[in-house]
Symmetry: none
Subunit: 232 residues, 2 copies
DNA sequence: AATAGATATTAACATTTCATTAAGAAATTT
DNA sequence: AAATTTCTTAATGAAATGTTAATATCTATT
């Protein structure tokens, strides 16, 4: 059972942060831990999350400030605050910024889990930004990335695997332009190393096989840089 | 600065209920007070509210039971529970029913107000419920989701169980499109885990058996994503 | 309360899908 | 020519799904 929901956790106490991260990971969330507001904001901007859990009391940049910055960029992502005591003022400020909930430490982990579920449940896939664009035309193909189907006009249909699908989508979105290897690796494989890179090559090969049905389409390699989907 | 938002407050302690009602009224909400679950449900059905605040511990019909009944009729209305301190079990049950939040008594009225505001200000959920439509045609079938009957034209009729019915309805509402697994699980099973997921698979198998009567209809699996009811 | 019938969940096993890794060939750069 | 990067096929194991049957739970009626 994959949930694959991504949580950004910002907590300055390393012990507590680590434990909480592990606990959430055990419950099938993908958790990124930042130890202060500055790092938190960087991480937030570098990838897509479904929910943020922010400690309020932190050095350098406190959780409320961080929340305001996040809200400027993304006004929908659910925010949960952790407050040390029952600092009513913080709670009220939090709600004003647009918090979805808060928890006072110490809190019960099961309740946190229930809250997370409840929140993610009523705000379906916030992070799926490109929700509207899932249908593409290129060459002789029609490509539906939501249903993961690649159809050759007056030809056969291919069911794509999740990775094939993501990779093809990125290529199509950059049609005739370079898709840098490490960008694709970081987005799809969430990591860029020798092995993920080999894996990506395998998927390029698979996509090429599909695209053979329209001989005018090509996936060109730019040595050391990446790939380029093009016509002719 | 009139808000016009209507709140149903169900609280058996008459003193506390009265005070809370007055407090909310002062803050520009229109409050209807019921003193037990039975009266609460009657009031709920008699008019439209924007939010419900339910005490859990009540004679005759407790808040959780009331919440379940309300959820059957209206699956979107926000619910806030009031619970005595330390009743973790109640809290978890509440979330499972689809609570939006809970407060432990005694609570701070300003915080309650902040919560209410936060919940009511939430961007209205996109799901424009097609609550009223309960009769569908697809393939050779006529499907009445209110009576839970699936009829094959010039063929036999099937009485559907509640779960079969809900699942088929969601598939039909998303005809030819993806019905994401976790959306269906959260809506029908109110939880998404390994076991509910297996249960769902069993129901898909049952539906497929019914649909065999029109060989042009198929329920296709999109691996890792969900199912798709389609023709051809 | 007891029981039967309907409904829902869980178990078990088969099948399919998928991602990764290995391994050797080919291409490109130095 | 040596080193690096890319190409392609195949093998492997893990995870998701299909299916049937066995339990468990619920509901209505006696």
């Amino acid at each position: 059972m994959k949930s694959n929901k991504r949580i950004l956790l910002v907590e300055d106490d390393p012990n507590f942060g680590r434990i909480l991260k592990d606990y959430l990971t055990l419950n099938n969330y993908e958790v990124s831990l930042a130890v202060n507001g500055i790092e938190g904001f960087e991480k937030f901007n570098r990838s897509d999350f479904d929910l943020c859990i922010l400690d309020i009391m932190m050095p350098f940049k406190d959780g409320l400030t961080l929340a305001r910055e996040i809200r400027e960029v993304n006004e929908l992502i659910p925010l949960i605050f952790l407050t040390a005591k029952n600092l009513k003022d913080d709670v009220l400020k939090g709600y004003k910024i647009g918090a979805d909930d808060y928890l006072t430490k110490p809190f019960d982990s099961e309740i946190l889990l229930a809250k997370i579920k409840s929140i993610l449940n009523r705000k379906p896939n916030v992070s799926t930004e490109e929700k509207d664009t899932f249908e593409f035309e290129f060459g002789d193909f029609n490509f539906n990335s939501k249903l993961r189907i690649l159809t050759h006009k007056e030809g056969e249909s291919f069911k794509l695997s999740p990775k094939e699908n993501q990779l093809l989508k990125m290529l199509v979105l950059n049609f005739d332009d370079l898709l840098p290897r490490d960008i694709a690796l970081n987005k799809i494989w969430r990591d860029a190393n020798y092995f993920t890179s080999r894996s990506m090559d395998v998927y390029i090969a698979k996509l090429r096989k599909y695209l053979d049905n329209d001989p005018s389409l090509k996936i060109i390699n730019v040595h050391g840089e990446g790939f380029r989907l093009m016509k002719e």
